[in-house]
């Protein structure tokens, strides 16, 4: 094993990987210099993760060569990769939830004393060393399952460093992080760079690329389409990544002023199992053609708000839409009453991954004409509907009969959006409408939401992405610990909203 903490250089030459007829990587060249943060930018499904799995020995390339410190390297499995000084932090963490941080870090690299006893003391010392050196704060004795995702990610990084990783691969590390946690990660990444480590940072988020990258390689449909500089504009990066010009701002005519609110929420309260108020006396109105954006750090009652409106949770208080009471109704009655709902977790709440695109497009519409008639489903109508929606919403799928789970994240989300917007709505509730979605799909979904607004519908957008709130909202409600701590105009500064998100009252 090569020891030492110096940076390694890494080079990929003509890497090609095919899955059946699909070419996931097509002759990819990539060079990572010691002590640089090299950003690999591409949309979901562009082949970034496949490439990194090759590098980590999880897939074998069909063609091409890997060089580390200019020496050819054959990686037959993670063990070879680790021995060569490559460390990887996966998008989904490879941690055992019931083990402590220390146990997880030692796993597979157990330090032993004579007689095969685990040397906890030495491992603990090593962990604390690394954690001090790079500002990676972790408590070695905490049980991993109870830690926030940001901390779990730190554990993964420590795990890689303790194995003397000189090239660190971070696969979409910010997808699960709050803005603050992302900042903390960037600080760690800079410290690692200072120490001479090289980092491959995989992402599709343009702001982050600009903030942290030294050099950028853009891949599209499995091939390198160019390199870019962090000083390039976001629009230039997006165009390179998507292959066409993308609009990053949403055109939005000013809201129609003066109309009476049509959607009213009064004193809405939801208690959790232990009797604690997770949604605490929330009241607000939305006027026709108005978008109310709910901002806040994840877990401050936004989920409960959406679920209470839909009738998925028992709540006290009143909800009225067009003068009719919505509270106390079943989800089926609420949906049937013209409420469109985009849940925040599409895989969990909005889609059946094993079912076809066509079936998912009627998941809450199958009962009524033209799809359901006398308890029977009109397969022709379901298929016609699917073909129409797939064309209208530009859903990329091999067929309307393909399982929705085989689609990319952005296209899955388009299926949900297409379904919820394919009927006349009287209210749209969209939670995290563009989570895990690429730039192209994001712009498209935002345009559709603004189109609903133009039709005079009241819209509630819940998002933890402040950019999204600023792009869409006509008014911004900020949530903190189950309460709305302020409803402010969209001209309000980021700093002011950040303070509200942290609990400062108006």
């Amino acid at each position: 094993m090569t020891k030492g903490t110096g940076g390694g250089s890494l080079e990929l030459r003509g890497i090609t990987k095919r899955f059946g007829s699909l070419v996931a990587n097509d002759g990819i060249d990539l060079e990572v210099r010691p002590g640089e943060i090299h950003c690999l930018l591409g949309e979901n499904g562009a082949g970034k993760s496949t490439l990194m799995n090759i590098l980590y020995g999880l897939y074998e390339p069909d063609e091409g060569q890997l060089l580390i410190d200019d020496e050819p390297l054959v990686v037959r499995g993670p063990r070879d990769a680790i021995a060569a000084g490559i460390g990887m932090v996966h998008q989904h963490f490879m941690l055992i939830p019931v083990f402590t941080v220390l146990e997880n870090i030692m796993l597979g690299e157990e330090r032993t004393r004579r007689g095969g006893l685990l040397d906890h003391a030495r491992a603990r010392r090593d962990v604390l060393d690394i954690s001090r050196k790079y500002g990676l704060e972790v408590d070695p004795d905490a049980v991993v399952g109870g830690l926030p995702v940001g901390v779990q990610q730190r554990v993964e990084i420590v795990k890689a460093l303790i194995r003397n990783a000189r090239v660190l691969i971070l696969d979409e590390p910010t997808a699960v992080l709050t803005p603050q946690e992302t900042e903390e990660l960037f600080t760690v990444m800079r410290a690692l760079r200072e120490a001479g480590h090289s980092i491959v940072f995989i992402t599709h988020k343009l702001k982050e690329v600009k903030a942290i990258a030294d050099r950028i390689t853009v891949i599209r449909r499995g091939a390198v389409v160019g390199t870019a500089d962090p000083s390039d504009s976001e629009a230039e990066l997006a165009a390179l990544m998507v292959g066409r010009d993308v609009r990053l701002t949403v055109d939005k005519p000013p809201a129609a002023a003066g109309a009476e609110p049509v959607f009213e929420v009064r004193n809405l309260t939801v208690l959790d199992e232990s009797g604690r108020a997770v949604l605490d006396d929330v009241s607000f109105d939305i006027r026709p053609g108005e978008i109310l954006g709910v901002a806040g750090v994840q877990g401050n009652g936004q989920t409960e708000l959406a679920e209470a409106i839909l009738g998925l949770r028992t709540a006290t208080g009143t909800i009225t839409l067009d003068g009719a009471r919505l509270s106390g109704r079943t989800p089926r009655q609420v949906l049937g009453g013209g409420v469109g709902f985009i849940p925040e977790d599409r895989g969990h709440d909005a889609l059946v991954e094993s079912a076809s695109v066509a079936e998912n497009l009627v998941l809450d519409l199958y009962r009524d004409a033209p799809f359901g008639r006398h308890g029977s489903i009109d397969v022709k109508a379901v298929q016609d509907n699917a073909e129409q929606r797939v064309a209208e919403f530009d859903i990329r799928t091999t067929s309307v009969h393909a399982a929705v789970g085989t689609l990319s994240g952005g296209n899955q989300q388009k299926v949900v959006v297409a379904r919820e917007m394919s009927r006349p709505l009287r209210l749209l509730v969209a939670a995290q409408p563009t989570r895990g979605v690429d730039v192209g799909a994001m712009a498209f979904i935002h345009e559709r939401i603004v189109a609903e607004r133009a039709l005079g519908r009241p819209i509630l957008i819940i998002s933890t992405e402040l950019d999204e709130i600023f792009a869409l909202a006509d008014r911004i409600a900020v949530m903190f610990r189950g309460k709305i701590v302020g409803i402010v105009p969209p001209e309000t500064s980021r700093e002011r909203i950040g303070l509200l998100m942290a609990g400062a009252h108006e």
Binding site: F19, G20, N53, L58, Y59, E60, G77, P78, H90, Q91, H92, F93, M94, L95, I96, L310, L312, T330, P331, R332, Q333, V334, L335, G336, F341, P343, H348, D349, A350, L351, V352, E353, S354, A355, E359, L363, D364, Y366, R367, G372, G375, S376, I377, V379
Partner: protein, 399 residues
């Protein structure tokens, strides 16, 4: 219940793996035939002196046993003269397959709704009790007696299954535990009833119920000497109904959605509890038809309830449904295979002297091998279904 189990069954192994599993099970069965043969093991004692002796007697023993099985299950060339005799093996296979079709559909239907129905035994006993009671008490005009008894059987099974669905929806009680317990309840209730005055046949020294009236029995379809009866028509109707229900009805859509993703079903406005109750009502009704085909059909000569009326069909049905991937068409194929093995096994025992237990071993091995596709792929050196290696590691714990 672990989602992965449901996904694995519904996706199922490839047809090639299934075929190879059957082949492998027959191969192991052949070994058992050799070991249990009175002469073959002795001849292997002097294998090196005269290997031909041992090999030829092995070949003969296996060929005789499996030959008898084929003759008993599909066609016996020796019967070419008589049409009735030529059809007898097929009639036997179908007769054995009919209750397995009902049972397999029942388990499969519940499975698609995400429910593991271990209560087939209880539901079929409930169905048999109701069908039998209607069959010997209802002195209605001839043409109505049979439909009345059939409906009583379906209703009995449906009520017993529906109870499980209701308990699950109302209290969250796990269906596996509840159905296992209700199996005992039904079994003991049956024992109590066939000894009670209301059911017991006074002319029979054994605790057996009164026989079902002749007009309430399932009529034979191809003459009295062949056992195949009108249960076949019921089975065809049940398969058609189950296919329509699962693939073309709004209830089936709800059922499959609830089975695949409860939380998405709830968010889409479906009532998970109501759907589970409906699934268990329907599964119970289909299991009730197993009871019907037993007591109004072929379980015993005088069409009466006995303590053994279930014949373990509620459990065999689970293996049939697993083999048939919980789909109606797959279930029919699996039931016919098991029916053929049962019918052939009896012929094998009668004419080749090989124990019928071998058939049970073969059936079990088929399911075992089908349930372990990686094992089959390793034995036959097939490529993995997705071509990739180590996909678990690539996806990680949360993938």
């Amino acid at each position: 219940m672990n989602r992965k189990i449901f996904d694995a069954v519904l996706k199922g192994p490839s047809w090639l793996v299934t075929a190879l599993a059957i082949f492998l099970a027959l191969l192991v069965g052949a070994l058992l035939i050799l070991v249990s043969d009175p002469e073959v093991p002795g001849k292997f004692g002097y294998f090196f002196a005269a290997p031909g002796d041992a090999l030829s007697s092995s070949w003969h023993a296996v060929a005789a046993a499996y030959g008898a099985m084929l003759k008993g299950a599909i066609f016996d060339p020796g019967t070419a003269g008589s049409v009735t005799e030529a059809f007898r093996p097929i009639s036997e296979t179908i007769t054995e397959a009919i209750p397995l079709i009902f049972g397999g559909l029942s388990i499969g239907l519940a499975f698609r709704a995400g429910l593991f129905n271990i209560g087939g035994q209880g539901q079929l006993i409930a169905g048999a009790i109701c069908a039998c009671y209607a069959g010997f008490t209802l002195h209605v005009p001839g043409v109505l007696a049979l439909p009345a008894a059939i409906i009583a059987g379906i209703a009995g099974g449906a009520a017993y299954g529906g109870l499980v669905g209701w308990l699950k929806a109302a209290t969250g009680a796990h269906e596996v535990i509840v159905t296992i317990m209700l199996n005992y309840v039904a079994y003991l209730l049956l024992g109590y009833l066939i000894a009670s005055d209301a059911f017991r046949d006074p002319n029979n020294p054994q605790p057996v119920s009164k026989p079902v009236l002749p007009q309430a029995r399932l009529p034979h379809l191809a003459g009295d000497s062949l056992r195949v009866n009108a249960g076949l028509l019921l089975a065809i109707a049940a398969v058609g109904f189950a296919w329509w229900l699962l693939n073309r009805s709004t209830l089936g859509f709800e059922l499959r959605t609830v089975g695949a993703n409860q939380s998405a079903a709830r968010t889409a406005g479906m009532s998970v509890g109501r759907t589970q109750i409906m699934a268990m009502l329907l599964a119970g009704g289909l299991m009730g038809l197993v009871g019907v085909s037993q007591v109004l059909g072929t379980a015993n000569a005088n069409n009466a309830l006995t303590q053994q009326i279930d014949a373990g069909l509620g459990f065999t049905a689970i293996t049939v449904a697993l083999l048939g991937r919980a789909s109606p068409v797959g279930t029919v194929l699996a039931a016919l295979l098991f029916g053929a093995l049962d019918a052939g096994g009896r012929a094998m025992q009668a004419s080749a002297g090989v124990s019928i237990e071998i058939v049970t071993v073969i059936q079990s091995l088929i399911v075992l091998f089908v349930a372990a596709p990686p094992l089959i792929r390793a034995i036959f050196r097939l490529r993995g279904e997705n071509g990739g290696t180590n996909t678990l590691a690539a996806k990680g714990w949360n993938g």
